[in-house]
């Protein structure tokens, strides 16, 4: 029997690692990878809460499926944007994409 706490701590650690990746990486593609890690941590939490606390309904699983759909949409648009930026400016380093910086 695995207590719920193990999953929650694991998801918190995965979320923090992803957060570090988003904040620290220079390459915009790598930043999106950090976002993916954070979304995965959220999904672990949703499925774990469904399994441990809410087994009689399908709400947790339905929510997790929505997160999957949003993650797929986010990656498709994000990577397309970075490829467009790369074509125009020749870089995907986040600190060089500062056209809209006031």
């Amino acid at each position: 029997m695995i207590p719920l706490s193990w999953y929650l701590i694991l998801a918190a650690a995965l979320f923090s690692i992803g957060l570090y990746g988003v904040l620290a990486r220079k390459n915009a593609v790598a930043i999106l990878m950090g976002v993916e890690l954070m979304l995965n941590a959220v999904n672990i939490n949703l499925v774990a809460f469904w399994r441990y606390l809410d087994l009689q309904t399908v709400a947790g699983q339905a929510f997790a499926l929505m997160v999957f759909a949003v993650a797929a949409a986010e990656v498709a648009v994000g990577l397309a944007l970075f490829i467009a930026v790369y074509r125009r400016r020749g870089t995907v380093a986040a600190d060089e994409i500062d056209l809209m910086k006031w």
């Binding site: 694991l10 957060l19 790598a30 606390l53 997790a64």
Partner: protein, 170 residues
Amino acid sequence: MTVEQFVFLVMAVVTLGAALMVVTERRVIHAALWLILALFGVAGLYVLLNAGFFAVVQVVVYIGAIAILFIFAAMLTRKAMQDVGPQVNAGWPAAALIGGVVFVALAWMLSHWAQFTALPPAFADDTPTLTQLGVALVSPDAYVIPFEIASVLLVAAMVGALYAAWGKKK
């Protein structure tokens, strides 16, 4: 320690180790490959959580589609960074501090929650099956509206991605 706990610990070490490599690896292609390993670890956790459907969706959607998109994007933008020089920005110590503080804060908050150490309930006869999840997703008194909005979102994202990445004919 039961077999289940041992498998969990192996999955956790694989997932967290691969995730750490994703955020620290200098070469973006290698980071994408580590991301695949981390996603596999999460799929294993879904199996442990009796959510086999999500393990399959994780492999098909995340590893089959999203990770491949990452590899394509990393290859298409490869010349930009040349994989030399620092791959983290000047503020990375602050980023590491924020990550650590968030983890400690989440762990502290969760540990004060009454059901933190809850054990999984046994499956009963009336436990919803995968069929009922599918029915709930298209049932008007359940989740049909979020489901349809997610579909519209995916179509909009696809059109938007095509528009953004389309090469301008000069």
